[in-house]
Amino acid sequence: MSERLSVRKTYKLYIGGAFPRSESGRSYAVTGAKGEFLANASKASRKDVRDAVTAARKAFPGWSAATAYNRGQILYRIAEMLEGRRAQFVSEVAEADGVSGKKAGELVDAAVDRLVWYAGWSDKISSLRGSSNPVAGPYFNLSTPEPTGVVGIVAPPMGPLFGLVSVIAPVIVTGNTCVVIASERAPLPSITLAEVLATSDLPGGVVNILTGSAAEMAPWLAGHMDVNGIDLTGADAELAQRCEELAAENLKRVLRPNGKTDWTADPGTGRMTAFLETKTVWHPIGI
């Protein structure tokens, strides 16, 4: 009796709720922490970036108009789905990062808990960031936060799951949609996360995940005129500067890398507020 040959998974991209290969037909070999071959990941191209932005833009009106309660429920659902696939993520994270099963388990648990934490923010951030303004006149005047729009995210190279979840959740919980460039070094958990997202009632296009070269893709994303904001957390100093310069063309909101990689710390509200606008509405009071 020979040992059964396993059926491997083809890792593709995640765009508009579907799993296409890169239009370029390119792929690259992904290796584990010990240098062993894990899989061939898709190497996304400029065209894939643009397709992903189109999908994110298309998803924005629906997602941003969803009730905060609904968005919170969906983020919680993502946490549920992630928990259900715990074993699979533990083994992927262990392979990618070369950490023990125990450590990988902690990282997966932390990712689940982070999603639950952000899920609860959906219907609270408005109370924190909004205000009723006592103007000197007979006017009703109210400020409320609104999502910025389509946000590009350069995910951290380290923390292929926990880091990834920690940058996606704060962007989408407030109603933004996003295009994420996954960790180039360890992209496989990001595509498995896409499988979780695809089965969590999250509308297609709210999160789009691309694997490949960050240095190649990030500038296309940063310079794209239909992207409203960019999170450069995963970019090195040189790439971050180049992307920030490109982002100036349409005055994108830029979240600069701050050198911190400790994802276990209290994340605060900064990752959410970086991609929120404040809208102030006036109306006269009278009879």
Binding site: N133, A136, G268
Partner: protein, 475 residues
């Protein structure tokens, strides 16, 4: 029926303009190293004063003074900083008449606006942020100031933009180097005197005058921690690019092309007043001006005839006359830009209309102008004119109104006129703009956050939100 009014000029005797002004660095007026420039009264083209131009070296001195003062200022208890700001607010009130006349002389805006809008808002802004100085721990943005703020402001509301920049910066414990616009430096320099009268510690406020290169030196100085700019989107882009890779915190308040949307159920007379306020207030030199009128097709004819009748009663002329509604265009360059875009409007096929409106012989003037038959592709529907020029488009459904209103790279403000509250809120939700005025327009208040979406910039000025720009993020 046209009413004739006797002239009712405000006296300019109340203000004493010096023949020349230096830079205000470290609490005193000093000579600039650049070639001095003249600032003129745009209503008469007479030279008002000669003003020093700050070079890179002058800006460096100002930044050093601000850096040195930062240690002192940021270490003061918030309650003490508050008292300085309250003092400044009071002196502004005491000298309001003088400041209003000077503003109208240097800028060209009607005295009734500088007196009744600009100056009261300037004082109110200082009062408002004075009160925050010792309450920052309750605001939710931390309490740590950034350091030296480099601030560059435009010519349309010279003193008001100064207040929007300086009041929150100082309340949070920062010190500032501010560059007023080249064509309107005088009220900022009078404000420097007010800082002296208030005994503000030297170096807390520094005013450097000059043109674009002075502004670039302020923004680009390596020891500036915070950049705040109000002006064109074009310059905003350059600033955003120049700070890439630095730790400078930036807020930008840039251009706009606001839609003022009138539904068929709107109170037409109020809407007409709102349209007039929206685009002819301050000669249309307003970044949030309602420069695109979107009117529902069924009431377009009625509304336009009311609007034209109302525009025929506007009085254009001497900014110091208390009856003047429309003052002078701020500069020859701005007048040329307004003319160029208006000519493009005609050339592209829109219909141009202005009331009978004699223009003074001297100075820079442009009559209130309305373009009808405008389509979305016309330059006058896409580009910021920054003048008294209204482009009129029509729509049939609320969805079409939203589509057209949002069809612009800008997102600073919008107006909605309807008597139906649910429709107003439905519109307000969908308009991608930082300020939505419903059944009103061009209202400002220090407690109310102001700032744009998209290419109208980022950050908010005013209200609790305005503190965030001048405090270190908590993380």
């Amino acid at each position: 029926m046209i009413f004739e009014y006797a002239p009712a000029p405000e006296s300019r005797e109340v203000v004493d303009i010096r023949p020349s002004y230096g830079l205000f660095i470290n609490g005193e007026f000093v000579d600039g190293s650049g070639t001095p420039f003249k600032t003129v009264n745009p209503a008469s083209e007479e030279t008002l004063a000669e003003v020093a131009a700050a070079t890179e070296a002058d800006v460096d001195r100002a930044v050093q003074a601000a850096r040195k003062a930062f240690g002192v200022w940021s270490a003061l208890p918030g309650s003490e900083r508050a008292k300085y700001l309250f003092r400044i607010a009071r002196i502004i009130q005491e000298r309001a008449r003088e400041l209003a006349v000077l503003e109208s002389l240097d800028n060209g805006k009607p005295i009734k606006e500088s007196r009744d809008v600009d100056l009261p808002l300037v004082a109110a802004h200082f009062f408002y942020y004075a009160g925050w100085a010792d309450k920052l721990q309750y605001a939710g943005y931390g309490t740590t100031p950034l350091g030296v703020a480099g601030q560059v402001i435009p010519w349309n509301f010279p003193l008001l933009m100064l207040a929007w920049k300086i009041a929150p910066a100082l309340a949070c414990g920062n010190t500032v180097v501010l560059k007023p616009a080249e064509t309107t430096p005088l009220t900022a320099l009078l404000f420097a005197e007010i800082c002296q009268q208030a005994d503000l510690p030297p170096g807390v406020v520094n005013i450097v005058t000059g043109a674009g290169d002075t502004g670039a030196a302020v923004v680009g100085h390596p020891d500036v921690d915070k950049v705040a700019f109000t002006g064109s989107t074009e310059v905003g882009r350059l600033i955003a690019k120049s700070v890439a890779g630095t730790n400078k915190k930036v807020t930008l308040e840039l251009g706009g092309k606001a839609a003022n949307i009138v539904f068929d159920d709107a109170a037409i007379d109020q809407a007409v007043e709102g349209i007039v306020t929206g685009i002819f207030f301050n000669q249309g030199h307003v970044c949030c001006a309602g420069s695109r009128l979107l009117v529902q097709e069924s009431v377009a004819e009625e509304l336009l005839s009311s609007l034209k009748r109302r525009l025929s009663t506007l009085r254009l002329g001497d900014p110091l006359d208390k009856n003047t509604d429309i003052g002078a265009i701020n500069s020859a360059a701005q007048l040329a830009k307004i003319r160029e875009l208006s000519e493009a409007g005609e050339a592209e096929g829109a219909d141009r209309w202005s009331p009978a409106c004699p223009l003074p012989d001297k100075g820079f003037w442009f009559p209130p102008t309305v373009f009808t038959g405008v389509s979305q592709s016309h330059r006058i529907a896409r580009e910021e004119i920054f003048g008294p020029v209204l482009s009129v488009l029509t729509f049939r459904t609320p969805a079409e109104a939203v589509e057209k209103a949002n069809n612009t790279p800008y997102g600073l403000s919008a107006g909605v006129w309807t008597e139906k509250a649910s429709r107003m809120l439905w519109m307000a939700n969908r308009l991608r703009a930082g300020v939505v005025w419903s059944n009103t327009f061009n209202k400002f208040d220090p407690t109310s956050p102001f700032g744009g979406y998209k290419e109208s910039g980022y950050g908010r000025e005013g209200g609790r939100h305005g503190l965030e720009a001048y405090l270190k993020e908590i993380s």
